[in-house]
């Protein structure tokens, strides 16, 4: 079966989704301090890689990378509440872009699977 990534349109869909998603995250005072970056293009590229991964697209992320990449944020207080907020924005983003509920559910399951690694548990 083809991935969600392929079924919703591949790279162009990710490019469209990342701006919507990044805007939500950056506008959310509960979590935006984890996403502040002088280099907004670099931050957007990271988030595009994240969206691509949770949608089952081509990705180089491993669980180990997820742990290492979020360790400094966990030290700064990243917790389950923040994780839930990000996942909420992810869900809203996909819904706004018209992704069918069944596919959104699949993406949510992948994202949930990354919880332990992201939170370094």
């Amino acid at each position: 079966m083809s991935s969600v990534y392929e079924r919703i349109g591949g790279e162009p869909a990710m490019a469209a989704a990342v701006e919507v998603f990044y805007r939500k995250v950056l506008g959310d005072d509960r979590i935006n301090h984890f996403f502040e970056d002088v280099d907004m293009e670099r931050q957007a590229a990271k988030q595009k890689a994240f969206l691509t991964m949770v949608c089952g697209g081509p990705s180089n992320y491993s669980g180990k990378d997820m742990r290492a990449g979020h360790k400094h944020l966990v030290e700064r207080g990243l917790n389950a509440t923040h994780f839930d907020a990000v996942v909420g924005h992810l869900k809203e983003t996909l819904e706004e872009l018209g992704v069918p509920a069944e596919l959104v559910g699949q993406v949510m399951a992948v994202a949930e699977g990354a919880r332990a690694d992201v939170l370094n548990r």
Partner: protein, 331 residues
Amino acid sequence: MAKVRHESAWYPLEPGETVLDGLLRQGVHVPHACRAGACQSCLMRATSGAVPEAAQVGLKDTLKARGYFLACACRPQAGTALEVAGASELRVPARIVDLESLSGDVVAVRLEVEAPFDYRAGQYVTVVREDGLARSYSLASLPREDRLELHVRLVPGGAMSGWFARDVRPGERVHVQGPAGDCFYVPGQPEAPLLLAGTGTGLAPLYGIVRDALEAGHTGPIHLFHGALEPRGLYLVDALRALAARHPNLHYRPLVLAGGDGDVEEGPLEARILASLPKRPVGWRAFLCGNPEAVLSLRKKLFLTGFSLKDIHADAFLPSTPRAGPVAGAA
């Protein structure tokens, strides 16, 4: 340990040290200014050995392919032996032909370049003095004009700006390297609304961009905001008012934080810009130049209001940074 060969001598680098710091520490003269990989003053060329990818970020592909890299961003891995040369072949000789005071602390420096020099209005160049002192400045001129024009803010204790203010006479020779930067107008979508916002000498690239867009036949509204602390920090006010009088689609708004009057509006730049935007600024393009905090903050706010990242061109003016540590303001 990594080592670097420059003009037939080898120089060892400390662990984690950049090529720029290592060479300067050992007495080698390398032009440099921002030390943050932005101004490109410290451009060098690797004649043998590989440089890390991070040392070529932001360079044109043609320069990358020829081995050019930024010495301030180049930390070779342990064991690397790198042979480098300066980038003098990329510098063109130029002559300062005119200096004009634009305000209490801004001088227009006009140069004639003695070789063909292609650039886009709004890009920046590095001026290299004979002794190697280098500083980057945005271009306020248009490519079709004979002279390059820079707006130099006189910084207290500034090495290059002090030289311009006190010592330079027309005829003085320098070298110009560049251009660099991607804050410029691209023709197409002539009806798109443009937002140009700058603080201080951030007006320089905007003065080029606005005239470039108008000459290219841009018909959409162009909103040009120029912010300063007080009225004497503004400059080119009459020239821009005259330009706006000739082009009904140009809306020029000089703005000061204090000391405004009937002639000049008073208020915070960012808030006034945001208040002037429609609720959903679809299809807008923005050009932001000047003070780094102002530029970065405004870029974020514009993105949040709906600007696409690719439509925001930001040029944050970084201060030059001496070797002893980050001290702002010696531009």
